[in-house]
Symmetry: C2
Subunit: 226 residues, 2 copies
Amino acid sequence: MNNGSHTLTDKETPSAVASHRIASLIRDQILDGSLAPGERIRQEEFAERFGASRIPVKEALRLLESDGLVTLVANTGAWVSRMSEEECVEAYQIRERLEPLLLRESLKNLDDATIDALDALAAEMEAGADVETFLRLDRQFHLLSYSAARTTALAEIIQRLWNSTQHYRRAYTLLVGIEHNQISHSHHHLIVDALRRRDPDDAESALVSHIRRTRSELSRHPEVFG
Amino acid sequence: MNNGSHTLTDKETPSAVASHRIASLIRDQILDGSLAPGERIRQEEFAERFGASRIPVKEALRLLESDGLVTLVANTGAWVSRMSEEECVEAYQIRERLEPLLLRESLKNLDDATIDALDALAAEMEAGADVETFLRLDRQFHLLSYSAARTTALAEIIQRLWNSTQHYRRAYTLLVGIEHNQISHSHHHLIVDALRRRDPDDAESALVSHIRRTRSELSRHPEVFG
DNA sequence: TAACCACCGATTGCATCCAATATCAACACA
DNA sequence: TGTGTTGATATTGGATGCAATCGGTGGTTA
């Protein structure tokens, strides 16, 4: 889905094809926050920005629409998708059911070196830094914990959900500060511990409570969706 | 996603737009079996068949690719997606986690009349008929049981999974015959019973065992994927 | 005889041009 | 003064034509 370094499914996307390349560029801009929800995307403007015609931009927007990142209205235009609180909560409900399954699948093939790396990441997060580093390390931690899974369709659905909620996750973290998310460190350690013991059920339940906690936190801060 | 009558999410797809209309037509052909997995889809051929240019066909193929129904290779062509046994099993693993959630969400708003209708459908299936009727009623039963859910993203993911596995479900049923799926009737009755008692946990577990049974049956008949 | 290379047809990807549609502002009218 | 209507403008959707790329076939050579 994404050609960036922070990808989950590295399927060979022919980025030689302009429409896919453009889709990746726009996607990155949405994910890193330079394109905020509600902002309009004009085909002509982006076409000349990327030095291409409007056709590949149009197709790129279609791709992003199916990712849920862009909302298209016929004969009218394209906007960066805006999520309501209900939609975001729904995404977390789905993640709560699916990510444990992905973690379980990954655990089947997870080697000790990767578990050590996860441990190191959890410790590094605890050292504390700025919000952007916190978000980056958190993403890295979870993606690495899923990296040994061979279930590509599942990974793709989950990556989609991560992407579509990314903006609101950042907004929430910026709002409450990382010190308010200290409890996440405990969750991460619990997950690493369960993985090291090769206990899939325990790993699942630790991850469930981690995701559920974030969901309820988001519900307590509806101003993120204003 | 789909403009046909057998749709789950009736979001206003502007079918005035040619690319969406064409996507629906091709999707229907894939779902009803007239376009089998592995078959090639030539842009020019389908363009003149639908009385349009190649551009909307190309965009329609992109849409179908993101639905997982079509596989695109750059500068080479498009084929109806073919699933391996592993991919199909993976789809069922995901369904096993997600559909119970959708059923639970639906149950919150399900009225008694709909439950009666589900009961009637379960009975009608038991009366027995040909394979095609069996498949149609089964689909109708489950979609109706989900119809009161307001979680659109969840419904969309599940519809996608149904669509991508539809061909293999049909192949399996044709192979073993409907009499071999008598046990499904019991599952359906269990689900209706749990819904009538407004017991979400019981409804979930009945549905889980229903889906899991189908998954293991599919694993026992790998020739479906030959 | 088998393997390798060059060429050619077929098919898709992209750019340019034209048509259709929505948005917005000015204007007439009650 | 408020409202409905109508026109101009901006923006997207689609058709045609050309360039780029892939797959197969024939010929050549070791």
